[in-house]
Every structure is written in structure tokens, then in C-alpha cells.
């Protein structure tokens, strides 16, 4: 087996806050392979966002080792190895949708015409071709989130970190976005490694190769559920008896602690 894309080795994270130290993660060990789709699920406050932010070098571990593509998380960030999608779209409101998608490319110094072409391609991919010149406030929540995904994909990062990206969407839009995301992930020449945080058990099972079930604070890896459903996944996947069995398995993992 090749070297893991992301490797947590007994990682702990303690936040120092006004009300004393907060034990967010405790002794997390987890190895994620290249091209793997990982769903992260657990009760609120168990450290899912923290785990993701550690990979992104937006927080630093208090103890333990973390390697991203064989490097420190800091180096991986400097190498622009990951793209991130937050729970809210975080679009810059003074930029058009197209300019928002181009933002990382601009920062990475890509020349204008190339940027423009890439943005057009991505806007088509997420179904926002007609909205390149619109401003964020003119788009619905779901459309804004798609723009945020396009922005994260624009520079073709090896890793995609997604923190409850569909959390604010209604069920129907959400299921459509899940399919869109999978087709983007499946479509390229090389699969991106994805860490996808969610509160929804069916969503986790539907999307992932493996579901990481976390325990309440301090967050630990409670259970790893391998999802052996065939790909490409479709609407029928949700009616597969195996799908229900896996949903039950994850639910049980969430219940025991």
C-alpha cells in the first residue's frame, strides 16, 4: 500500500479559552489513503471541525503527529495541497461569482486569460454558467455553496476539506448536490482525497468510502465503517438494503460510548 495521504498519529487538541482548557480531540489516530472519500460524523462539539482545521494548518495539534502528503500540515498549506469549503459559503461580497472562483488562482499568480478559462470551466461544472457576473447576494444559499465548491476546486488541490457544506440546504437540494459532488469527484483523471464533515448519517454513507464515527468530547475515533456500496452511486443506492444496513451500523456507532 502506498504512503497515506493524511496520517493522524495519536493527535490531541486542547484549546485554551477563557473558561479553562477545552479538550477537543484526544488521541486520534487515522490514516487516509490517496483518493479516498472520508465522511466524518459525530455529535456536535466532538471536534470534527477541529480535526479538519488541523489538516488545513488552521489549528495546530497540542500533542501527536500529523503528516499531510508526507509533510507537515504547515508545509502542505504553503504548498497549497488542499482546498477548503466551510459550512457557510464565505464568498467575498464585493466580488462577482466569477471573481470569487478566480480568487485562489489570482493569489497563486495565474495569468488572467488562464484564470478566466478555468473559472468558466468550473462554473459550468457546478451549473452556474449564467451567474458568473452576479454578486453573491443575488444567489440562493445552494448556489452560493456551489460557487464555494467551484472556488475550492479551481486550483485542483490534492485534498478537499468540506465542513458540513450542505448543512444549510433543504433535503432535495442536498441530495442533488451530493450527486453533483460525487460526479465531480469521480469525473477527473485522478480522484481527490476528500474529508467531508456531516451531521447526516445517510449523507455520510451515501458519499463515503469510509465513515469515521467520533465520540462526544473529547473526540476520539469511535468506529470506522467501510462503505462497500458500488460506485457510481445513484438515487437507487439509497434504496439498496446494504445502504440501510450501513446506516444502522453508523447509527449504532454513534449511540455507544
Amino acid at each position: 500500500m502506498s504512503a497515506p495521504m493524511i496520517e493522524f498519529d495519536r493527535v490531541s487538541k486542547i484549546y485554551q479559552s477563557g473558561g479553562g482548557p477545552v479538550n477537543a480531540l484526544h488521541d486520534v489516530s487515522l490514516s487516509i489513503a490517496a483518493g479516498e472519500f472520508i465522511a466524518l460524523i459525530g455529535p456536535s462539539g466532538c471536534g470534527k471541525s477541529t480535526l479538519m482545521r488541523l489538516v488545513g494548518d488552521l489549528e495546530q495539534p497540542s500533542a501527536g503527529g500529523l503528516r499531510v502528503r508526507g509533510k507537515t500540515a504547515h508545509q502542505a498549506r504553503l504548498d497549497r495541497d488542499y482546498g477548503i469549503v466551510f459550512q457557510s459559503p464565505v464568498l467575498y461580497e464585493w466580488r462577482s461569482i466569477r471573481k470569487n472562483v478566480e480568487l485562489p488562482l489570482e493569489i497563486m499568480g495565474q495569468p488572467g486569460p488562464q484564470r478566466h478559462a478555468r473559472a468558466s470551466e468550473l462554473l459550468r461544472l457546478v451549473g452556474l454558467s449564467d451567474f458568473g457576473d452576479a454578486y453573491p447576494h443575488q444567489l440562493s444559499g445552494g448556489m452560493q455553496q456551489r460557487a464555494a465548491i467551484a472556488r475550492a476546486l479551481s486550483f485542483e488541490p490534492a485534498i478537499l476539506l468540506m465542513d458540513e457544506p450542505f448543512g444549510a440546504l433543504d433535503e432535495i437540494t442536498r441530495e442533488r448536490m451530493q450527486l453533483e459532488l460525487l460526479s465531480i469527484w469521480d469525473g477527473g483523471p485522478q480522484r481527490t482525497t476528500v474529508i467531508f464533515v456531516t451531521h447526516s448519517i445517510p449523507e455520510a454513507v451515501f458519499l463515503a468510502d469510509r465513515v469515521v464515527v467520533m465520540s462526544p468530547r473529547p473526540g476520539r475515533v469511535e468506529r470506522l465503517v467501510t462503505v462497500d456500496l458500488p460506485r457510481p452511486r445513484s438515487f437507487e443506492t439509497r434504496e439498496d438494503p446494504r445502504f440501510f444496513a450501513l446506516v444502522t451500523e453508523v447509527r449504532e456507532g454513534l449511540r455507544e460510548h
Binding site: 467575498y92 449564467d130 440562493s140
Partner: protein, 294 residues
């Protein structure tokens, strides 16, 4: 940005609204200015009505007609212009000083804000003095500046602009500093995830994000710089300007009350024009792109 709830799905708006027809935009402009016109008419009616009701003498409150009449009489001075023309010339003179002070103070305020944002240590050291500077009455500062700069051989307009700038830089520093710090943690995290340089974070996030704050403070600064320009004319012994007009009219108030009202009108003319220009610039630069502006 990050804290805002997601707009509901029903808000799937089409692309930017098509530009309105000229007739419609004129109508919109009329509708917008209607409240203002209403207030002015009400005030004018109240003016004359209170004279009538309480028997206020012309000495204490002249008739509106008398004020208008004074505007069209020739002044006793050398030019022989009617007072209205004189008033506009004076307003223009003060406007120029205010604009100079506004630009100078605006740049100073902006520079200080950027400096304070980058170096919090400097902010802690200097901010007390910046705040302290504004507690000294401008009436005390103005003569010092005028005399001081005059001794150094600077022209009087330079002193006047300096006084106007003195009142201008403060609101800009405070507003701009607040604006530069207003970037949400997540919008900053996003920049970090791209390994953006501090300069890129400044130009692409902090500065554009601060523009609404900047314009709010510039509107305050616009009025402040007009006050500064007027006050600076007094010790400068200016021969033109709204300050000089107010001073002269106040001295001859007993013999000619309406002249003071004309001078006050000149002052508000400068202030309103200036404010309007800043508001227009804000609409053009910020307006079309933001939820709150368009």
C-alpha cells in the same frame, strides 16, 4: 460575512436587475427627495407661523422674505456684487479649504489606520494621543496653527487646510481601523488556506471589506472638515470664506439680522454639497455590489 445566515432558497434572483428607464429613475429620484422637501417646507411654514403666533420681532427672527431680499441687494464692499453671488464665492472658497483638509486628513487617517492594524504595539502607544488630540477644542488649536505656520512662512491656505485636516483624520482613523479589522475569521482562514501573503490579504480582503466603514467615517469627516475650514478662517483674518461671512454678519447683526442667516445658509450649503459628494462616491463604488447598498 460568515455570521450571516444563508439566504433562503426562494431568493433565487435572476442576474443583476436591468437598468431602469430614464423616466423611472427620475421618478425614483423625486420620490427619494420628497421627504427632504417636505421637511424643508414644514420648517419654513413653522418659521413664519411661530413669528405670527408668538410675535417674535424681526430683530430676533427676520421674515423669510427679508432674508431673500438681502440676498439680492448689492453689498457695500468694493465688488458691488449682490450678496447671493458673494455668498457663493465665499462658499466656494471654504469648500476648497475643506476639500484640501479632507484629502490631507483622509490620507493621514488612512495611513494611521493601516499602521495601527499592522502594528498593534504602535496602536497601544499612539492611540491615547490620537484621542487626546480631539479633546483639545478646535477653537484653541486653530490660532496656534495659523500663527505657527504663518511664522514659518506658510501661506494662510496651508494653515486653514491643516486645521480642517486636524478634525478630519480622527474619524477616518477610527472608522478605517474598525473596517480593516472587520474581516471575519473564516474569510481570513480562507486566505490562509491559499497561503496568501499579508499584502494579498490586505488588498484582496481587508481593504475591500472595510469600504463601507471607510465611507461611513468619510461622511463624518466631510462635515468635520467644513467646520474646521470655517473655524480656521477666524484667526487667519481671511478676507473671504464662510467663516469671515459669519463673523461679519454676527458683528452687524443688530443693524442687519438677515445677513447672519445668509451666512448660515452658506455654511450648510458647503456641508451638504460635500456630504452629498461623498455619499455619491459611496454609491458608485460600494453600492451596486452589496446587499445593503443595492
Amino acid at each position: 460575512m460568515a455570521e450571516k445566515p444563508l439566504p433562503s432558497l426562494q431568493r433565487i434572483t435572476p442576474a443583476a436587475p436591468a437598468s431602469a428607464t430614464p423616466g423611472a429613475s427620475l421618478r425614483a429620484a423625486v420620490r427619494r427627495s420628497l421627504p427632504v422637501a417636505g421637511v424643508i417646507v414644514t420648517l419654513l411654514i413653522a418659521w413664519e407661523a411661530s413669528k405670527l403666533a408668538f410675535g417674535i420681532s424681526d430683530q430676533r427672527l427676520p421674515h423669510l422674505g427679508a432674508i431673500i431680499e438681502v440676498m439680492f441687494t448689492r453689498t457695500q464692499g468694493g465688488t458691488g456684487n449682490i450678496l447671493l453671488a458673494q455668498m457663493l464665492l465665499n462658499a466656494w472658497s471654504t469648500f476648497q479649504v475643506a476639500l484640501g483638509g479632507f484629502l490631507l486628513g483622509g490620507m493621514l487617517g488612512f495611513g494611521l489606520a493601516v499602521l495601527f492594524m499592522q502594528l498593534p504595539m504602535l496602536e497601544r502607544g499612539l492611540m491615547p494621543y490620537v484621542i487626546g488630540s480631539q479633546t483639545v477644542p478646535i477653537l484653541a488649536i486653530a490660532p496656534m496653527v495659523v500663527v505657527g505656520l504663518g511664522r514659518m512662512g506658510a501661506p494662510s491656505w496651508a494653515a486653514k487646510i491643516t486645521v480642517a485636516a486636524y478634525l478630519t483624520f480622527f474619524p477616518v482613523t477610527i472608522g478605517m481601523l474598525r473596517g480593516l479589522r472587520a474581516a471575519s475569521p473564516m474569510s481570513l482562514d480562507l486566505m490562509r488556506s491559499y497561503a496568501a501573503s499579508p499584502a494579498q490579504i490586505f488588498w484582496r480582503l481587508r481593504l475591500p471589506n472595510s469600504l463601507p466603514y471607510l465611507f461611513t467615517s468619510l461622511k463624518v469627516a466631510a462635515s468635520a472638515s467644513v467646520i474646521g475650514a470655517i473655524v480656521a478662517e477666524l484667526p487667519a483674518g481671511a478676507r473671504e470664506g464662510v467663516g469671515m461671512m459669519i463673523l461679519n454678519a454676527a458683528q452687524s447683526y443688530n443693524s442687519r439680522p438677515p445677513a447672519l442667516y445668509v451666512a448660515i445658509l452658506a455654511a450648510s450649503l458647503v456641508g451638504v454639497t460635500f456630504y452629498g459628494m461623498v455619499a455619491l462616491a459611496e454609491r458608485l463604488i460600494v453600492g451596486s455590489q452589496r446587499t445593503n447598498g443595492g
